[in-house]
């Protein structure tokens, strides 16, 4: 009896043991199907390419692309509140210079997300090269150069916006890595970025295959790195290097045109060379009624020869569903902030053109950006804002702007706007169906950066000696500015009347003023203006120029601006942004280095 019992127990016991112990560790491992785990990833070149693409697409996310606009434009004088601003009180506060640490636009998480993706590629790509024979050493180096450049670009945006930021070049993968980092000073970060890019420029891709139509402008190239170095040296105050890299960019673009003569129809003929002073600017069909068509070439079609680096968005009429999914997304940021046309000419936007662009209500005066120059003949006036049917931003909103010939600076040419980007609401969610390219570097920008560097070579004074020294620099700078300006004049090159006069710009300050203004006219709404003012303030050591520009805004008044930016204690801090409250809550180091010019907007609450 007992024996039978023991044998039965043994049998059952064994059964349990077999079911339980032997298989238990395997049993509790579930293969993941919707995601791939680290241990199964990073095996082949394709994995690397996928994450590299993830670095780019992260920049298109709302929290990066909209920041390009908000950080680069909304505190400056190009924009004012649009008729939808009531839906975004935070943006309204930015426009009113009422920025607190709670304002979500002070958040930078999207930028660091890009940075971490880049660092992750740098961490794991060498391992892939070791196991995948199809992934060569030079390809690995090109990958690292590409993602390093993206990372450096993100840091460059961050330091220009926040001054000192946490800087690191390793990947965060584990929760036991120290996360509370001390912000690195502006200069140190800038130097590191330059050092890194100087190395990476040698490894980066010079030309993508001609069949990959969009890669040459949509991904990082040697030329893009040079453009970044050009601007970084300008911020650093190293003007010779700035000029050097600007020339590298210009020559590279010229080479590209020679190598691939069929690439663009928008640069043609020697007639245009005289318009662009020989610089490779997009000029397609500048005649008849199509002045302004370079706009469509650069922003709507994308991959323009003028463009050095841009973020490309899904062309219209393809699936735009992927804004939150895995498709190729549309340009939500520009669509949301700059508006759209829901039926006819209505512009439903969060931002609107300010009066420095559109002038007074009657659009006859006060248009200070264009005031002393070519006025009505400047086709950028119509690209930037629609003159005549109510003030609204047109750049990034329409797909083409056709400007007719202007006889002189006081008579208005005919203007035709092409199709507008649209908008739809599904289940109370707004979809902004915008596909315009977000251009980060283009030739006009580089030409003007070089002009700005040349200005810094000038000396003050009017002695003959100084004049003789200055003249070649002034000539060079003027040629650059004039090339950009002439391209936009809605007149045939043969009868160009409304153009800049070299004779008006003979001193350093005059030329500096011209360059700054030309940058504003040319790069309006492209997220550059505020950084131009910050760079100027840092160079000057005061905020005078910034205050002068800001005095013309409608969102703030001059006395407020002078108090805030002119403050001897915190004025130079006020040109940067504060760290977000959510960040300082979880980082003692950031809290200790908080920007002193801004408050949390909160008084202590009784406990």
């Amino acid at each position: 009896m007992i024996k039978r019992l023991t044998s039965k127990i043994t049998v059952i016991g064994y059964c349990l043991l077999v079911i339980g112990i032997s298989s238990c560790s395997d049993f509790l491992e579930i293969p993941s199907r919707s995601e791939i785990i680290l241990e199964e990833f990073w095996n082949e070149k394709n994995d690397v390419d996928n994450v590299v693409a993830g670095c780019y697409s992260r920049m298109q996310g709302e929290d990066v692309l909209q920041r390009f606009i908000v950080w680069g434009e909304c505190r400056a004088d190009n924009v004012k509140a649009g008729n939808r601003i009531d839906r975004d009180a935070n943006l309204d506060n930015v426009l009113k210079e009422n920025i607190t640490t709670k304002n979500p636009y002070t958040g930078w998480d999207g930028f660091y997300s890009v940075i971490n993706r880049c660092n992750t590629v740098i961490k794991y790509a060498p391992g892939v090269a070791a196991v995948d024979p199809g992934y060569t050493e030079s390809e690995l180096k090109a990958t690292i150069a590409e993602v390093s450049a993206i990372r450096d670009l993100m840091y460059f945006y961050l330091i220009r916006t926040f001054r000192d930021v946490p800087y690191y070049t390793y990947a965060f993968t584990d929760d036991d890595q120290p996360m509370d980092l001390v912000p690195t000073p502006f200069e140190a970060v800038l130097d590191s970025l330059i050092t890194d890019l100087e190395v990476q420029q040698n490894n980066a891709m010079k030309r993508y295959a001609i069949t990959d139509t969009y890669y040459q402008t949509g991904r990082i190239t040697k030329c893009a790195i040079w453009a970044m170095l050009c601007e970084m040296y300008l911020w650093k105050g190293d003007y010779d290097n700035c000029i050097k890299y600007a020339d590298l960019v210009i020559n590279d673009k010229k080479d590209l045109l020679k190598e691939r003569p069929n690439i663009s129809s928008s640069i043609s003929g020697s007639s245009n060379d005289s318009r662009t002073n020989g610089f490779p600017l997009s000029t397609g069909g500048l005649s008849g009624s199509s002045y302004g068509s370079f706009y469509e070439d650069i922003f709507t079609s994308g991959k323009s020869v003028e463009t050095i680096f841009e973020l490309l968005f899904s062309p219209l009429n393809k699936s735009l569903a992927g804004r939150n999914g895995s498709g190729w997304p549309g340009n939500y940021g520009a669509g949301r902030l700059y508006g759209y046309a829901s039926s006819s000419a209505m512009n439903d936007a969060f931002l609107d053109v300010s009066s420095v662009v559109s002038g007074d209500g009657g659009r006859t005066s006060g248009r200070s950006v264009y005031a002393n120059e070519n006025y009505y003949a400047d086709s950028r006036l119509y690209i930037n804002s629609n003159q005549g049917t109510g003030d609204a931003i047109r750049k990034f909103v329409t797909q083409s702007v056709m400007v007719g010939q202007a006889s002189n600076h006081t008579s208005k040419p005919s203007v035709n706007y092409g199709t507008y980007y649209t908008h739809s609401v599904v289940n109370n969610v707004d979809y902004y169906e915008n596909s315009s390219s977000w251009v980060i570097y283009r030739m006009a920008d580089i030409l003007l950066l070089k002009a700005e560097a040349l200005c810094q070579k000038l000396q003050e004074g009017s002695t003959q000696e100084i004049v003789a020294y200055n003249t070649p620099y002034l000539d060079q700078a003027f040629t650059l500015v004039n090339a950009v300006n002439k391209r936009a004049v809605a007149q045939p090159i043969s009868s160009l009347t409304d153009t800049l006069q070299r004779s008006k710009y003979n001193t350093k300050s005059e030329m500096e003023e011209l360059v700054l203004k030309e940058r504003q006219r040319e790069l309006m709404f492209e997220g550059k203006r505020w950084y131009d003012l910050v760079r100027r303030s840092m160079r000057d050591g005061n905020t005078d120029v910034l205050c002068e520009a800001m005095a013309n805004r409608e969102s703030t008044n001059a006395s407020y601006v002078n108090n805030f930016f002119g403050n001897s204690g915190t004025g130079m801090w006020a040109i940067f942004w504060p760290y977000n409250d959510e960040e300082t809550k979880v980082s003692a180091n950031l809290a200790a280095h908080q920007n002193p010019a801004f408050s949390s907007g909160e008084t202590n609450i009784q406990k």
């Binding site: 127990i9 509790l28 579930i30 199907r33 693409a53 697409s57 498709g327 190729w328 809550k585 979880v586």
Partner: protein, 1121 residues
């Protein structure tokens, strides 16, 4: 001789064919004693009766049988058949010492059949016998108010959605697991995991389970409250457990029962809303007031235009529509249920089948449910029993696409439901055109224009869901050793349980509801199917040793359990379908297919033991080991021990004198450790997933930061209980107190500096929380009895407090919202060592009667100001100004004694709102308070209403919650009532705040008709001011903090069973009728519809206008054939 005897023995043993002998007692031979041959099962084979002298002869069939002698009054004797002659002397049975028959009611405690008396845990049981003949329509209804410490929060009012339950407060603040107690049906846990797909529906799914079980099938409900009792469920039982036992077949001839319930339901009304006329008047003022400009209020929709020239859609804006009335109706529910049960020696069965048909209290909601449950038991042999169970529920639920009631509360009442042609005919439903030439105002763009016409939505949109829920189970019981208490017993129970759940969704939203142009996304359609299959097997060995010393009793149980499951689904979304086509795959544009997959596995080992000495000293010990896929290899296994003791003092010999009064007195301390796990797999490794593409490149990215040391959340709970019973268990009383400490709390979405590339890590073990409270419940057993009349009662009450003891400073910082000074914004403050649920806000002091300018122009002296505020200025003064003589107020700053404070230039200082010298406050949009604005107490007399004036306004934690009920019986009549109550808690009534704020275009409650309209009005309702930042009259203040105490009658039921003797002639066994009413009334001072709002998570109790529980009336009949 010996040899001969031996010979005869051996011979006789083989071929005895008959026996003979005498039966006698001490007095001599017995006449009429019975002699029988019986076989092993006790069956009688042969029998004989003794003659006058006690002699007998009987034939014998089989020598393996036994011979039995019986005589009235004598103890029977059973002997083996091994001889032919039996001379028996019977002994009188009366001389034997007294024998008491003890039977113990056994309960499944920690998987062991422990005598109920010896249970050492905090549990509470409700036998469905109590509800026999009563019309309980769902399990949660049966539990309402009956279980101390169980808080049942009302459901959403939609068909097919269950209640939310909280047992002993929340044990976890995070949303990582739902805080509902675990529901166990016949030992099985339903594993349906569609959560990845439809988060909002997850809670409903959970409770669909309760809804899928017909109350007619339930034999008993047991609620396990303390951690020690839940220990066998390990990490699954962290929120308490509700165990349901279903009925099984019983020996007897087949019994057929049919029951029918008819229920009518309706929604309580809630606040009276404005009529169209009142609404337009209010809105006109709201738009006029901020600008004092008629143009601002020139809105065609509210201007009662009379011609197409003025406003094309003028005909649609002249109505007095009661939208709420238009979308609500009286719901009707029929429940049919048939059961057949019966069985014989070898097998028993019970088969039930039911059909429910419901229409909702909101129009166009319809639910059909078919359910069946089969239980079969077959005794293969004395030792082996096989059981199989099967249940199936099919539900077809026609739901609303939009939240109609919610929209109806907000929708402008001057708009008509139907669109009328110029000749006055209805041409369709009316919805504000959202695009195209529309002469209306754009002020409605963001609200009214987005609210769909709820009547149109109900009729035109489609949102159907069908579900199939199947659970087959096979169980084998095998008694490996003894079969009764006189032997060692070792029982094996093995079961295989599956759960198959399929769900099909079908939605369509036609263009009529989204008046957009054709290029926009109209005619949208969605179809999805999802399925979940889970498999569970349990193997249990229970060993019960036999002790020769009957004082000892012990049981040991070992169990191995394994669960594996997967779920997946796919969906198709389409837009811009041709009108009339509802199938998304017919789409020309925007077809968006999606799919998902989910898988889970776990493994559990349980060991449990029970020991008692003399039936009054009890020790229980359980340990469970949980293995899960959620943690990395190092932390994969969690160990959860528990132990509890019980001392039944009343059984001590020295207590016996008190026995007639105190029939039970026991104390039981217990302790246990339970755990909790996150709801995601692979947190311990880096995951990569697809992200938005770039150009033509597919893109992937790391999705998380790897959690290197993720651990189980642990809860250590002490529970002390006292059981008392008086007067032979006529009154039973239980008191429980508990103290639980939760450590390594799993905080989801832990914020990290985003400079690491991620804003959060998915989980972090951080913090420590305490949860303590006490409970008391009392039940009676025919407490008052007089003839055919008796009364029973039950009552319970309890209290619970949550408190954070330790928490990462960053986490705490992030929990505490920063105050943004917005209307209707609540301030959350979570502080260490303070219970949750405190309400903070401003103090409301009425409404300013006069404008600032008007007041300044009065040029009052300091003394006159005092008289002004008291209404004691000279009569002539009032006459001069033409004002009524009464106290007035103006938005000026006063000191502690009510004295007027002046600026340096002597003008009275104006009361400002959140004024900051750096210009970051609300000064730019708000120039200061004015007539008609709310008066807030300026606690620090600084002339500035800001955060410093916020004070503590009360606690939303009740002092006491509980329920009680009475049952009155008289013969065949029974009246049963149940009440729930809550005392001493405050509720922040945001629902009322939003209905009285007058800052938007939503409809408001009729209370706003008493608003301030012109200077001099004395009222407590501020003026209408459209716009978030125009006025701050609806800040969270004590104006909206209300006493939430209430007493609710949960139900009253009257039942009558027709006496059997009247039924015999038609062949029925039982016919009973009942009528019941649910939620007939609530006694409360609370102004909202339903004061049943409890504190949850970090926030205080806030009434966000959830759907109130409906009121219902049921008529039912049950017939036994």
């Amino acid at each position: 001789m010996a040899f001969a005897l031996l010979l005869s023995y051996t011979a006789s043993a083989q071929d005895i064919t008959s026996v003979h002998g005498t039966v006698s007692d001490e007095m001599g031979g017995l006449m009429g004693a019975t002699v029988c041959e019986v076989d092993g099962t006790g069956r009688i084979i042969n029998s004989a009766v003794t003659d006058l002298n006690g002699n007998f002869t009987m034939k014998v069939k089989n020598t393996k049988d036994k011979i039995r002698f019986t005589y009235v009054g004598m103890s029977p004797q059973v002997l083996p058949i091994n001889k032919t002659t039996y001379n028996i002397t019977m002994k009188s049975a009366t001389t034997l010492k007294e024998v008491t028959v003890k039977s113990k009611k056994r309960a499944q405690g920690n998987g062991l059949p422990i005598p109920e008396r010896e249970l050492s845990y905090a549990t509470q049981t409700i036998s469905m016998k109590e509800f026999e003949g009563l019309g309980i329509t769902s399990v949660d209804e049966a539990l309402q108010g009956r279980i101390a410490g169980l808080d049942i929060i009302g459901n959403s009012g939609d068909l097919g959605s269950g209640s939310t339950m909280r047992l002993r407060g929340v044990s976890s603040l995070s949303s990582l697991t739902d805080s509902n107690p675990l529901i166990v049906v016949d030992g099985n846990i339903r594993e349906v995991n569609l959560a990845d797909f439809d988060l909002a529906g997850a809670n409903n799914e959970k409770f669909a389970e309760l809804l899928n079980i017909n109350p007619e099938d339930i034999a008993e409900i047991r609620v396990l409250k303390d951690a020690a009792s839940c220990a066998v469920y390990g990490s699954q039982g962290g929120n308490g457990v509700i165990e349901l036992t279903t009925k099984r077949g019983a020996r007897g001839k087949p019994k057929l029962t049919y029951s029918l319930k008819l229920t009518g339901t309706h929604q309580p009304k809630g606040y009276d809303l404005l009529t169209g006329d009142d609404y337009t008047m209010m809105l006109k003022e709201a738009y006029f007031n901020p600008y004092q400009d008629d143009n601002a209020s020139d809105i065609p929709e509210i201007s009662y235009h009379t011609s197409d020239a003025e406003f094309r859609d003028w005909r649609q804006y002249r109505a007095n529509t009661d939208w709420r009335d238009a979308v609500t109706q009286t719901g009707l529910r029929q429940n049919h249920y048939v059961t057949i049960s019966g069985g014989g020696e070898k097998a028993s069965f019970r088969i039930g089948g039911g059909f429910d048909h419901e229409t909702g209290t909101i129009i166009k909601q319809k639910l059909n449910r078919f359910s069946t449950r089969v239980a079969l038991d077959y005794n293969v042999s004395e030792r082996i029993r096989v059981s199989t169970n099967f249940s199936l529920t099919y539900t077809k639920n026609k739901m609303n696409y939009d939240g109609l009631l919610d929209i109806a509360q907000k929708k402008m009442p001057n708009m008509s439901i139907y669109e009328y042609s110029p000749t006055g005919e209805v041409v369709g439903y009316y919805t504000m055109p959202r695009e195209g030439p529309y002469a209306g105002s754009s002020v409605f763009n963001d609200d009214q224009k987005k609210y769909v016409n709820p009547v149109a939505s109900a009729n035109l949109a489609k949102n159907d869901r069908r579900t199939y829920d199947m659970s087959p189970e096979l169980v084998i019981n095998y008694r490996l050793l003894g079969t009764d208490e006189d032997h060692h017993r070792l029982d094996y129970r093995g079961s295989v349980y599956m759960n198959i759940f399929n769900q099909y969704d079908d939605k369509y939203y036609p263009w009529e509801l989204t008046p957009l142009n054709y290029n926009a996304d109209i005619n949208t359609s969605y179809r999805a199917s999802s399925k979940s299959v889970s498999f569970n097997t349990k193997h249990t060995l229970t060993f019960t040793p036999r002790f020769t010393n009957k004082d000892h009793e012990a049981m040991f149980m070992g169990r191995f359990e394994l669960t594996s499951g997967s779920s997946n689904g796919q969906s198709t979304n389409a837009k811009r379908l041709a009108t009339g086509v509802e199938n998304p795959s017919a789409a020309g544009l925007g077809l968006e297919p999606g799919s998902w997959y989910n898988q889970w596995r776990s493994m559990y080992y349980t060991f449990s033991t029970h020991y008692s000495y003399k039936g009054r000293y009890v020790v229980d010990f359980t340990v469970r080991v949980d293995g899960t896929t959620k943690f990395g290899p190092g932390n994969r296994w969690g160990y959860f021990p528990s132990g509890s003791l019980k001392w039944i003092i009343s059984d001590e010999p020295w207590m016996q004198k008190l026995k007639p009064v105190l029939s039970m007195f026991a104390i039981r301390p217990g302790w246990a450790l339970t755990g909790n796990q996150p709801n995601q797999n692979y947190l311990y490794t880096s995951k990569y997933g697809t992200v938005s593409n770039y150009i033509d490149m597919g893109a992937m990215a790391p999705l998380n930061i790897r959690l290197t040391d993720l651990r189980w959340q642990k809860k250590s709970e002490f529970n002390g209980g006292i059981d008392l019973a008086f007067f032979d268990d006529k009154i039973r009383l239980t008191i429980e107190a508990y103290h639980a400490t939760i450590t390594d709390m799993l905080m989801p979405n832990y914020r990290v500096p985003s400079s690491v590339g991620f804003t959060t890590v998915p989980y972090r073990n951080s913090g420590k929380m305490r949860n303590m409270g006490w409970e008391f419940h009392i039940t009676t057993n025919r407490f008052i009895k007089k003839g055919k009349f008796y009364v029973d009662m039950n009552a319970n009450f309890g209290n619970n407090r949550n408190e954070i003891l330790e928490m990462d400073e960053y986490v705490l910082n992030n929990l505490n919202s920063t105050y943004d000074y917005k209307n209707g914004e609540t301030l959350r403050r979570v502080q260490l060592h303070n219970p949750f649920g405190a309400i903070y806000g401003f103090k409301f002091k009425g409404v300013y009667t006069h404008n600032y300018k008007t007041f300044v122009n009065l040029n009052l002296s300091d003394e006159e100001f005092k008289q002004f505020t008291q209404g004691t200025l000279p009569d002539e003064w009032y006459a001069d100004h033409g004002w009524e003589k009464r106290p007035y107020t103006a938005p000026v700053v006063t000191g502690p004694d009510g004295e007027l404070i002046r600026e340096a230039d002597g003008t009275p200082k104006r009361m400002r709102y959140d004024y900051r010298s750096d210009g970051t406050g609300h000064t730019s949009s708000h120039q200061g308070f004015n007539g008609g604005d709310a008066i807030y107490e300026d606690a620090n007399y600084d002339g500035n209403i800001n955060a410093l004036d916020i004070s503590y306004l009360g606690s939303s934690l009740p002092k006491l919650t509980g329920g009680f009920g009475f049952t009155f019986n008289y013969g065949d009549w029974r009246l049963s009532t149940q009440f729930t109550y809550r005392v001493g808690n405050k509720i922040l009534n945001l629902a009322r705040l939003n209905l009285e704020s007058m800052i938007g275009n939503n409809n408001q409650s009729q209370a706003v008709n008493y608003r301030w309209r012109k200077e001099g009005d004395v009222t407590t309702m501020p003026r209408a001011m459209h716009g978030e930042n125009e006025a701050y009259n609806s800040l969270v203040s004590d104006r909206y903090v209300e006493d939430g105490s209430y007493l609710r009658m949960s139900y009253a039921q009257l039942s009558y069973a027709i006496n059997k003797k009247y039924l015999k002639w038609i062949g029925l066994n039982r016919v009973s009728f009942y009528a019941s009413i649910n939620n007939p009334f609530v006694i409360t001072k609370y102004s909202g519809v339903d004061p049943d709002i409890s504190q949850s998570g970090y926030d205080p109790a806030i009434d966000r206008a959830q759907t109130p529980r409906s009121r219902s009336y049921t008529l039912g009949i049950t017939v036994d054939f």
